[in-house]
Point group: C2
Chain length 224, copies 2
């Protein structure tokens, strides 16, 4: 941790987040959120967007949005707003996620099929390159352009395709075993759709999807 040095010697530049420094959790979370709305807006053919519009969709204060963005450069045009297309690529650059990322999907049931055939991941530069299942009846069948493989091929595929992200759409009892194998194989991020509480080594990050909890949160603000 050496930012004491960075701080003291650094001269603040006009648009001045220090490029070497990690974004704070809050900033990274908000930038991701802007990106979500911008991607949707782009898909709907919107060309420019104001900080106020972004605020309406994200529920983040408009001043904060302008502040977050202006830390990295002057992306907007006064009196007009931000160009959607260019802001998308700027934020992706800031989040260092401009490239394509290969992901492996586990579980070829309803949820797995829904994920593999939707473009929610594709829109953000993620490509599902392999689908796995343990059910011999499913192995060999097709989901879109992909052929379902057996879990036992996991290790090879993760290596060959340089897979960093795995998505688990499997029943809870299967999730922990799979998490162990994935960590072992070198996967760094596990996106968990099951309700298992996964134990993983420190270098692996687990993100558990929990729509019901998001709903509880929304419901609280409706009820009060």
């Amino acid at each position: 941790m050496s930012y004491t040095v960075g701080r003291s010697t650094e001269v603040a530049q006009p648009g001045s987040e220090k490029p070497g420094e990690k974004l704070s959790l809050g900033v990274a979370a908000r930038l991701s959120r802007y990106l979500q709305v911008l991607t949707q807006a782009r898909k709907m053919g919107k060309e420019t967007i104001s900080s106020q519009e972004l605020a309406d969709y994200t529920h983040v204060n408009s001043t904060q949005i302008r502040r977050d963005l202006s830390g990295f450069g002057k992306f907007g045009k006064r009196g007009v707003g931000y160009n959607v297309e260019s802001l998308v690529s700027q934020i992706r650059k800031i989040l260092r996620t401009s490239g394509q990322h290969n992901i492996a999907l586990f579980g070829a049931g309803h949820l797995g099929t829904a994920i593999a055939t939707s473009d929610i991941f594709a829109d953000h530069g993620f490509r599902v390159v392999a689908v796995f299942d343990v059910d011999r009846d499913k192995v060999g069948s097709k989901i879109g352009p992909l052929t379902v493989r057996h879990n036992s091929a996991l290790r090879d595929v993760v290596e060959d395709e340089e897979i960093v992200v795995a998505v688990l759409a499997v029943p809870s009892p299967a999730a922990q075993i799979l998490a162990d194998e994935l960590a072992e194989a070198g996967v760094k991020i596990i996106f968990n759709y099951s309700d298992a509480l996964l134990q993983v080594p420190p270098e692996v990050t687990v993100h558990t999807s929990s729509p019901a909890v998001d709903l509880l949160y929304a419901l609280y603000f409706y009820l009060t």
Copy 2:
């Protein structure tokens, strides 16, 4: 809505979040997060949990967790931790979401089927009471115990079942039309799985699921 009264007459008690006051966004979000982990832990048969364990799973600082909780009462036992079962019900009480809530699901495709047959919602007190689709081939078929109905029955069902929450697992082009009808029918919370940017009246809250954006966020911290 009568908490103005509650506010002015209230005297701050020892563990003293004023019961009449709304939680801040941050506190409500964190409490929801604890609830998620606690629910998983309970399912796995865990009886007590320490603030440190909760911190490991939620990535929230353990001091903050103790602080958040102690604002509402003394729920823990020194030297032991928190009782999982009782903490779940305490937090649900604080979030005022102890009851059962009926939800309507739109879209009987792969995603809709996955949602209807999983217990991710049921575990948190949400019950899917109706599934809708526009496809005449699907209408009348069964998903678990539920019969798929045509969207045209929306209004009646929302009224009869007092539905406040709708989940949209439909293609993007259908989402906005549905959102309009739902707002009209009195639904207050729309959980959107499509990538449409929904316009709704101010009394309606939209929450758009975006796993890819969550992944981008996780990826940023892996890459840096």
